[in-house]
């Protein structure tokens, strides 16, 4: 057998091995990363009713439009911590709630249309 043919074959095999290795592991890895990124982007599955629980401090109550503004912690799978208004399912829920109260609250609904269905006062800041 001629040596240079053997060497050529060897290099072909090496190249083929690298290519197959890339196809077998490199590409699926890239795809998996992309999928994870996509899933993170749309953690909320549309059209399904969800329940979220979190804590927040009351910044304002606007009964005329049935809104209670909360500075809340991270609502896992829904939104990062921020100050924003939520509607209550029943205006009676926030009877007796004052600005500065710390609330543990429950949101229910099809995101992004959720309402406060339960709340419990934990203290005042």
């Amino acid at each position: 057998m001629r040596l240079w043919r053997a060497v050529l074959l060897l290099n072909l095999a090496l190249g083929l091995g690298l290519l197959m290795g890339f196809l077998a592991w490199g590409r699926p890895l890239g795809e998996a990363r992309r999928e994870v990124a996509e899933l993170r982007g749309q953690a909320v599955t549309p059209g399904v009713e969800r329940v979220f629980r979190a804590r927040g401090v009351v910044r304002a109550i606007v009964p005329e439009i049935n809104v209670i503004v909360l500075s809340h912690e991270d609502i896992a799978g829904f939104m990062p911590p921020m100050t924003m208004g939520f509607r209550a399912q029943d205006p009676k829920l926030y009877d007796g709630v004052k600005v500065g109260d710390v609330l543990a609250f429950t949101l229910r609904g099809v995101p992004p249309n959720v309402v406060i269905t339960e709340l419990r006062k934990e203290g005042t800041l």
């Binding site: 057998m1 001629r2 040596l3 240079w4 053997a6 060497v7 050529l8 060897l10 290099n11 090496l14 804590r55 927040g56 401090v57 009351v58 910044r59 304002a60 109550i61 606007v62 503004v69 500075s71 809340h72 912690e73 991270d74 911590p81 100050t83 004052k98 600005v99 500065g100 109260d101 710390v102 005042t124 800041l125």
Partner: protein, 630 residues
């Protein structure tokens, strides 16, 4: 020659197995794991080192098999294929190491660092791999019975001379680049174990380069000379020199092995070995320094020109060289002494505690109990106990503090200044405590500098770095002022009720407008206790963050900036104003301050405040303030 390569292949494989065993033991954290197949599996399957090892060992196996296979070389194609393939496999085997080294861990510029490492490894392999066989060939050919081999030896020496020059240039260039990547600055070079090892490497390289220069300029050209009188003695000498180069190169490899197991310099606190350092920034403000440095620099330039002339000139070379060296020496002697500043082993230690409100507040408490007696409540060096000391205590707020690094202060706090009466605090204060104190002193000096702050910004003149601070609003996770860098300007409002109530209501009404200008309002209650959010009430609704956690520390840290030019503010320990507002720009500098009731410009009317914010918005962004003082 072939048997040598075969043996080298086997050695490489055996050491590769040994390396895997060591790494398995290291990863598992126990020596028994070195022989444990399960540990080997984990290293191979789950680490980057494992992947690189698999690739490398596979390539080396192929290479060794290729070298041991006794195939006949029937044609030129065979000959070229065998050598080309060997070279390729060896280069891959050597270069693959780049992926297992420190360069692979460099985050920014990872590709460039990897490339440099790859080139470095391959060039080192080419140079080092050729040295040994070249020595054997030259030695054999320089013997009387080796006359047949002489033409080949001459040819090989010439070819090696060319290739080695290229390899060495590549090695030095990539080596310098890598060193800079892994060190980052001069203190890391002179003050860390990694830096010392690199210097040792360079020190070993210098004689190699000297030998190589002699070989290239004198011995290689002499090889084809008359066999008995010139050629053979030159060859024998060249053989010895190459052997010496090879020995030194092996010593370098040993240093590299240690380097590989040493954390890169930029990850370590440098231990400065000299009692001085050269710094332009520290002394630039001292009168006369600029002129002297400028004159010295000019003399050095003339001297360097003299040296260049000496290289180019054929006649009077010695004279020009002498004059050049003399001028460079004189120039350095003129320019460097004014630049030198006292230094201590910890001069370049980087602070381990960020310049943050909580650290400053803790530092203040320590200052009140340990330092205030001599250095005084404002750090002016006017404390009641300071008078009896051999030397007046330092004014910690004076501009000369710019000459000292945080590391200098760390040294004085740790070891004291015996001649002046400053005691050592290493037994009393922990490391973090000392850094807290240094942060507080930085705050004190900044507060002194902040006297000239007013409600009007100085456009494009950021001077005072705003201390960072962590704060939380109710159950929301805590944030820091730094989070707003590059994003928003911050209006930090230190208020107390009921005096500030109407101002806070005005800000609540203006919040939407201020936000539209890219400003976040952060309200920090000065009163302890009480309910800050409930206290501000709901009419008008307050939507800006009201700090419920971290307010005390922020009040303490930013209270350092209460000093102004009013009679009250000039006192050593002025009383805390009931309401202060600070404007912090996007780069993180304190740009303007309004203390209610102070004369001059006021932010009582929101449009006045908006005008300042708009002036900040028009500025070109500055670089963020330094993390530590210099």
């Amino acid at each position: 020659m072939l048997s040598l390569a075969r043996a080298a292949g086997l050695v490489a494989l055996v050491t590769a197995v040994g390396l895997l065993a060591l790494n398995a033991a290291y990863v598992a954290g126990r020596s028994g794991a070195a022989l444990d197949p399960a540990a080997w599996g984990r290293v191979l399957g789950a680490t980057q080192f494992g992947a690189v090892w698999l690739l490398r060992t596979g390539v080396l196996l192929l290479l060794t098999a290729l070298l041991w296979a006794r195939e006949r070389e029937d044609s030129t194609a065979d000959w070229a294929a065998l050598r080309g393939e060997s070279w390729l496999l060896a280069a891959v085997g050597a270069g693959a190491l780049a992926w297992a080294g420190h360069a692979a861990a460099v985050e920014a510029d990872g590709g460039a660092a990897l490339g440099a490492d790859l080139l470095h490894l391959v060039a080192a392999g080419v140079w080092l791999g050729a040295l040994g066989p070249l020595h054997l060939l030259l030695r054999a050919a320089s013997r009387p019975e080796g006359a047949d081999a002489r033409p080949y030896a001459v040819l090989a020496a010439r070819r090696f001379s060319r290739i080695a020059l290229l390899a060495m240039l590549g090695l030095v260039a990539t080596g310098l680049w890598n060193a800079w990547e892994q060190l980052g600055d001069i203190p890391s070079l002179l003050g860390t174990r990694y830096g010392w090892l690199l210097l040792l490497k360079v020190a070993l390289l210098v004689p190699i380069l000297a030998l190589a220069a002699v070989n290239r300029s004198r011995l290689v050209p002499a090889l084809p000379g008359d066999a008995e009188t010139v050629g053979r003695p030159a060859m024998a000498r060249l053989a010895r020199f190459v052997a010496a180069e090879w020995t030194l190169a092996l010593a370098i490899l040993a240093v590299v092995a240690v380097l590989g197991a040493t954390p890169p310099g930029k990850h370590e606190a440098p231990w400065w070995p000299l009692n001085f350092r050269l710094s332009w920034d520290a002394v630039a403000a001292i009168p006369g320094v600029r002129t002297r440095v400028l004159i010295g620099g000019q003399i050095v330039v003339v001297g360097v020109l003299g040296l260049i002339v000496a290289v180019l000139l054929a006649r009077a070379r010695a004279l020009a060289a002498l004059a050049g060296v003399a001028l460079v020496t004189i120039g350095l002697w003129v320019a460097l002494p004014p630049l030198s500043v006292d230094a201590y082993p910890t001069t370049y230690r980087r602070t381990t505690v960020p310049y943050q409100a909580s650290s400053i507040a803790h530092g203040e408490a320590l200052y009140r109990s340990h330092c205030v007696l001599c250095h005084g409540p404002a750090g002016w060096g006017d404390g009641p106990a300071g008078g009896g000391l051999p030397k007046k205590p330092a004014d910690l707020t004076a501009p000369h503090t710019a000459q000292h690094t945080a590391g200098d202060m760390y040294w004085w706090l740790t070891h004291g200044i015996p001649a002046s009466g400053m005691p050592a605090f290493s037994a009393v204060l922990g490391e973090d405590d000392r850094w807290d104190l240094i942060n507080y002193i930085r705050g004190l000096a900044s507060g002194e500098q902040g006297r000239m702050l007013s409600a009007t910004i100085e456009p494009n003149r950021p001077r005072i770095g705003a201390p960072d601070a962590a704060f939380a609003v109710g159950p929301a996770p805590s944030r820091t002022l730094k989070d707003f860098r590059g994003v928003k300007t911050v209006l930090l409002v230190l208020y107390s009720l009921p005096g500030s109530a109407s101002r806070m209501a005005t800000l609540a009404r203006a919040y939407e407008t201020l936000q539209a200008l890219g400003t976040e309002v952060i309200a920090v209650p000065l009163d302890r206790g009480g309910s800050p959010i409930a206290g501000l009430g709901g009419n008008p609704p307050v939507y800006y963050p009201v700090v419920t956690e971290g307010a005390e520390e922020i009040a303490q840290a930013y209270g350092l900036f209460r000093r102004n030019l009013s009679p009250e503010g000039m006192k050593p320990d002025p009383s805390m104003p009931a309401h202060m507002e600070f404007l912090i720009d996007r780069a993180g500098y304190l740009r303007a301050r309004w203390i209610t009731g102070e004369p001059g410009a006021s932010w009582a009317e929101i449009p006045a405040l908006m005008a300042e914010i708009q002036a900040l918005n028009r500025e070109t962004p500055a670089a963020p303030p330094a993390e530590h003082v210099h």
